[in-house]
């Protein structure tokens, strides 16, 4: 018991209702995973809707998908994977109490995330110019066999990538807060839970994109 008490004195980040730092860390990780499970449900509904409508209107979805630039999608996938690597290295730097490399890796993650979003802005503005946005102005130059349901594809495209981008924006905001806190020396091998948990969030957003990319960009490319 006395050793537990001394750990509480030694580690100011340890809350009084936890036995030790390991227990506190495990509780935080589990809490984050619980949140991520609700995120699976959140995106899951959209994925399900996409799958059902794609199975109902395969031709309309394939034609609409071919209007997307798969190269931009592939580049963005690679950028996001790079940002996942820098994120995981940031967590590792925090685990090793390397404050400087922690900040560098966090900043790199922010930069890569921003490049992804910038790429997305370019893509979206192309879609606006090409009249591919669902609504009264929908009218792509290419002849479509079933424009109405191709419009449905673009609703899924904008809905899903838009929500994904919103998650990225929130993630970048959290990363900026982490950089600020890391500069103040809040994280070390004794306490790096916020970095670890933000990592979980960031990787989850990466996983969503890993599924979005082939589903949206790579239908019937033959």
């Amino acid at each position: 018991m006395s050793s537990k008490l001394s750990e509480h004195h030694a580690n100011p980040a340890l809350a009084h209702h936890f036995e030790d730092a390991d227990q506190q860390f495990e509780a935080s990780t589990l809490g984050m995973w619980t949140f991520l499970v609700t995120e699976i449900m959140f995106f899951g509904g959209l994925f399900l809707g996409y799958i059902v409508y794609r199975s109902l209107y395969p031709v309309a979805f394939a034609e609409a998908s071919n209007l997307l630039d798969y190269r931009l999608g592939a580049i963005n996938t690679a950028i996001l994977i790079c940002s996942s690597l820098t994120m995981v290295l940031a967590v590792r730097a925090a685990q090793l109490s390397h404050r400087r490399s922690l900040i560098v890796y966090l900043l790199l993650t922010i930069v890569l995330g921003s490049v992804f979003l910038g790429n997305k802005v370019v893509e979206y503005s192309h879609k606006f110019h090409e009249h591919l946005v669902p609504g009264p102005n929908f009218g792509p130059a290419a002849a479509l066999t079933d424009p109405q349901h191709s419009q449905l594809f673009f609703s899924f495209y904008f809905g899903m990538t838009g929500l994904h981008a919103l998650h990225m924006i929130i993630g970048i905001g959290i990363l900026l807060a982490l950089v600020f806190q890391a500069r103040q020396g809040r994280f070390s091998a004794d306490y790096f839970t916020p970095v670890d948990i933000t990592g979980l969030y960031w990787h989850f957003v990466d996983i969503v994109w890993i599924f979005l990319f082939p589903l949206l960009y790579l239908i019937s490319r033959v």
Partner: protein, 100 residues
């Protein structure tokens, strides 16, 4: 924080390179006509990538059993939703035929 496994940088780089290679493969494979198989190939590759991210980048491989349980419960629920819904939608035409 004695129990934490600090994973060697080499493993992270290896996972990273594998993820990039699988991205190239998934793009390349999309240009071969495998008919209805295409989507299953793409989803298998995506699932492999997701698994790598979950196990290594999200440290689930090194996490306690309870985390394992939560993670697998989440994805299992997602599978139930997809499989049960598709078992309805994909069989409607079959069942509508005379003789059923």
């Amino acid at each position: 924080m004695s129990k934490h496994v600090i994973i060697p940088q080499k493993i992270y780089i290896l996972v990273f390179v594998t993820l990039l290679m699988l991205t190239l493969v998934t793009v390349d494979v999309a240009f071969y006509d495998a008919g209805w198989l295409n989507i299953y190939i793409a989803m298998t590759i995506a699932t492999c990538k997701a698994l790598l991210v979950v196990l290594y980048f999200m440290h689930v491989r090194y996490s306690p059993r309870l985390t394992w349980l939560f993670v697998s419960a989440g994805f299992f629920w997602f599978l139930i939703m997809i499989v049960f819904t598709l078992s309805d939608y994909l069989t409607r035409e079959v069942l509508a035929k005379p003789g059923f």
